[in-house]
């Protein structure tokens, strides 16, 4: 029995041990703004202004933004720039072959990006939140930009106006597993040129954008959760009834 207990304890602990040894940049936790309508609206504005030029969200219709409190007039006046109709899908006008030539890769569709980027390291929103806050200037790259979360990324820092320009500081450190080798380790950012926003404001804006991306990944998600509460309440009540019905039949069985 002791053997069995040891075995079970080991099995329970092992995944945790494996987890701890995983490499890679730790992701910051993205604030949850998927139910905050004003944050989602701000996120939608940032998305249309900064992301939609190159990326599509081809599963998403503009008029779905009514779900986050915008009316069709507001959508038409503020978010449609190139003659789209309000019922159109969010598609970029950039041609895939141009994108390939300019950035080396076609920018991915962002409809469900917040769902696709989830991993054991964190949720999809965590990944995007950390990614959009990890750009630094790197003159060795064709775009002049690099990223800690996505090294050698093809996308330049589109939000640089807001965040300003930062460089990353690295230090060489001895590899703890192998004294003869050294590793290039990130130690911090340095603000070279201030942006339109302070660091706090920028984090806040990115959080809104990420909140929007999370909402856009599944626009029905808030309806789903609200409805779920009622479904469970109904089933809970029904269970009580059926439990008594069952008991009334089975009390005859001796």
């Amino acid at each position: 029995m002791t053997l069995l207990k040891t075995l079970i304890a080991t099995l329970v602990l092992l995944p945790a041990l494996a987890y701890a040894s995983e490499d890679g940049l730790a992701l910051d936790k993205a604030p949850d703004r998927s139910t905050d309508v004003s944050a989602l609206q701000n996120g939608a504005k940032l998305f249309v202004n900064y992301c939609l030029n190159c990326h599509s969200a081809s599963a998403m219709r503009y008029n779905r933004l009514r779900d986050i409190g915008l009316n069709e007039e507001q959508i038409k006046d503020n978010l449609l720039f190139t003659g789209e109709k309000v019922g159109d899908l969010m598609k970029t006008t950039m041609l895939p072959q141009d994108a390939k030539a300019w950035f080396g890769a076609v920018p991915p569709d962002l409809s469900v990006i917040a769902r696709a980027k989830a991993s054991e390291a964190g949720s999809g929103p965590d990944w995007i939140y950390t990614y959009l806050r990890s750009y630094y200037k790197d003159d060795s790259r064709p775009t002049g930009w690099n990223n800690l979360v996505f090294p050698n990324v093809g996308m330049p820092h589109v939000l640089w106006e807001l965040q300003g320009i930062r460089t990353a500081k690295f230090a060489d450190e001895k590899d703890s597993h192998d004294e003869s080798r050294s590793i290039h380790k990130f130690v911090g950012f340095e603000q070279v040129k201030p942006g339109k926003m302070s660091e706090l404001e920028y984090d806040n804006a990115v959080a809104d954008l990420v909140g929007y991306l999370q909402w856009m990944g599944e626009p029905a998600q808030n309806t789903r959760k609200r409805l779920g509460v009622w479904v469970l309440l109904f089933l809970g009540g029904f269970l009580v009834l059926i439990w008594r019905l069952n008991a009334s039949f089975w009390k005859e069985v001796k």
Partner: protein, 482 residues
């Protein structure tokens, strides 16, 4: 053949009675209702384990009904499939609910079916006279695996695509015909539109038809011999003057009301997942599957969905280094059969020849091929249970206590195999003799040990299941009134 006879009801009989009488003269409605529900006697001591059969039927219905609605909006076309799923999630009224019910239903199906099988294992439900019930069940399980595998390609995400690619490629490991066979299955040199179309066809019509037929056969066979029970004794051995088992209760209303209660409990759990965690942490809907299929980008880690992983782990455990152990295992098993089996000379000669052929084959052909064979055998071997189990009693309740530990070790091995199957290789690091000298990937070694435990459980069953001190089996079922 007797002449047509319609019972004459009085002229003032209720119209419903007349209608029923009219039908009964032409179709066995009342008699079928009686034979399968109101006068089908089930043991009164069935516990919660017996609810999973009814739940499996419920999930089958959920899958068929939601599937019908999904097919109305889904496009089986490589260029449109991914977008059509998102269209269902966004633009089709209640599409998100129908899709989540279907995707969660797939995992729920395997959960209830695995628990249904555990019940069979615990109480010996596959033993005589229920061998055919069990075999139909194994066939249902196989169909379900095919159904789930082909259905998983349809969303056309990265995992759909590469999972199908990996599994279809496995057929390529079969000697001589392999490459042509996998080409024939795919209908193209890679998984493509042709593959998507045929998988769609199999998923929505071919396999469901077979599945429904098998489920009917499973239930008819069950009702022919009657349900087993947690005591593993036959209630038909004690009947009253009318031939009604003394320990039986009519399925309807007693078990219908029981099963409805189980259904509500199930729906609570099912709804909690659908409404609050439809991705189930990446296990029910894998994150990578939200990226459209790309034949040029292979994901770093391709894992099948959780319900296939115990068997997939057995495939991965079969490395070329492992073949020597497998050959030793086969040789040892043949020696055991020759020395210990009470079967006749012909049986032993056959065992010797088959064993020699397997060992020779293992020496000649690729380890990958035997990985595929072991994966297939690990599922098929379930069908052998009625003949492998030589226990004196059916139910675990009256078996020697140490038998329970065998079941626990088997269950742990199965779960560990399942866990390792979702993880990339090397998840538990590696053992080193010295710095930098790799001895073994711990996860791989563990999955190899578990593979031995898995097959040992079944293949050694004729001996261990008959050994030990059995407890006295009661004459009548153990039942405590509610």
């Amino acid at each position: 053949m007797t002449a047509f006879h319609e019972k004459q009801l009085p002229a003032d009989a209720p119209i419903t009675a007349k209608a029923l009488n009219w039908v009964d003269a032409r179709f066995p409605l009342t008699s079928t209702w009686k034979a399968h529900l109101s006068e089908y006697y089930a043991p009164k001591n069935l516990n919660f384990w017996y609810a999973f059969g009814a739940l499996a039927l419920l999930v089958l219905v959920i899958q068929i009904v939601t599937g019908i609605f999904l097919v109305m909006h889904y496009k089986p076309d490589a260029t449109l499939a991914f977008a059509s799923v998102e269209y269902i999630m966004r633009d089709v009224p209640w599409g998100w609910l129908v899709r989540y019910m279907h995707s969660t239903g797939a995992s729920a199906f395997f959960i209830v079916v695995y628990l249904h099988m555990v019940r069979g294992l615990l109480y010996g439900s596959y033993r005589k006279p229920r061998e055919l019930v069990w075999l139909f069940g194994v066939a249902i399980f196989l169909c379900l695996m095919g159904e789930a595998f082909m259905g998983y390609l349809l969303p056309w995400g990265q995992m759909s695509y590469w999972g199908a690619q990996v599994i279809v490629n496995l057929f390529g490991a079969i000697p001589f015909i392999g490459p042509d066979l996998s080409l024939w299955i795919r209908g193209d040199y890679v998984v493509s539109d042709a593959t998507l179309n045929r998988f769609f066809s199999f998923h929505v019509i071919a396999i469901p038809l077979v599945l429904i037929g098998l489920v009917v056969a499973h239930i008819i066979a069950l009702h022919e011999v009657g349900s087993n029970n947690p005591d593993g004794i036959e209630i038909k051995e004690h009947t009253d003057a009318h031939g009604v088992p003394l320990d039986g209760v009519p399925f309807h209303p007693y078990y219908t009301v029981h099963d409805i209660m189980a259904v509500v409990v199930f729906l609570i759990v099912f709804s909690a997942v659908i409404f609050f965690a439809p991705e189930m942490g990446g296990y029910f809907l894998e994150y990578n599957n939200f990226i459209p299929a790309d034949s040029l980008k292979t994901p770093l880690h391709i894992a099948p969905v959780w319900y296939f992983t115990p068997f997939y782990s057995i495939l991965r455990a079969t490395t070329s280094d492992f073949m020597a152990y497998l050959m030793a295992g086969v040789a040892g098993y043949v020696a055991l059969v020759l020395l210990k089996s009470r079967r006749g000379v012909i049986f032993k000669i056959a065992a010797l020849i088959i064993g020699a052929l397997i060992v020779t084959g293992m020496a000649i052909f690729d380890a990958k091929f035997f990985g595929v064979v072991l994966m297939g055998v690990s599922v098929m071997i379930l069908g052998g249970l009625p003949w492998l189990d030589h226990s004196l009693v059916k139910s675990i309740r009256y078996r020697p206590d140490w038998h329970k530990y065998i079941y626990i070790v088997f269950a742990i091995a199965f779960v560990v195999l399942g866990y390792l199957g979702v993880k990339p290789p090397g998840v538990w690091g590696s053992l080193r003799v010295q710095e930098h000298i790799l001895l073994a990937d711990i996860a791989q070694t563990v999955s190899q040990i578990c593979t031995f435990i898995y097959f040992g459980f079944f293949l050694l069953m004729p001996w261990w299941s008959a050994a030990g001190q059995f407890k006295p089996v009661p004459d009548r079922v153990t039942y405590h009134p509610h």
